[in-house]
Symmetry: C2
């Protein structure tokens, strides 16, 4: 039997992971990163990488998969932001 | 003795929580939300609310505090985005 806290936990993990997909799509499609904070995506990407290492340490597949996906999405958004700054588009 | 996985876990939680502060400051200062995905912040805010409920269920203070802070920051960014859409600024 799946308990209510477990369902809420899975919903939480799914929502916070999946949420970065529409942002990554929007950013890669429009290439507009003016309103995105470089500091946020730098800290966030580093944090997600730490979560991934933490998951690997614990051999916890849920933490590994969720953060591996988020890391790819966050890195793509961060790369686009850095590209725009380096190419003086911002 | 604090183990390496615990240090990495704390670093991960701190970084992913704190990262939304510079984004919230940038958004509230500039009011520019054009490059921010409405879908992302809607799903993310809902997900963080689920994490908060999950933490309350488990009586886990670390989950509660981290997600309470993130919820305030994500809600402020989402509110600014919705305001701009409603007021036809986007």
């Amino acid at each position: 039997m799946i308990l209510i806290p477990e369902i809420i936990g899975y919903a939480a993990a799914t929502l916070t992971t999946v949420s970065f997909l529409p942002q990554a799509i929007l950013t890669l499609r429009t290439r507009d990163t003016a309103a995105l904070s470089l500091t946020m995506y730098s800290l966030f990407t580093l944090g997600v990488a730490c979560w991934l290492i933490y998951g690997i340490y614990l051999s916890n597949k849920a933490i590994i998969y969720a953060n591996a996906i988020t890391l790819v999405l966050a890195t793509s958004i961060l790369s686009c932001k850095i590209y725009n700054i380096v190419c003086k588009k911002e």
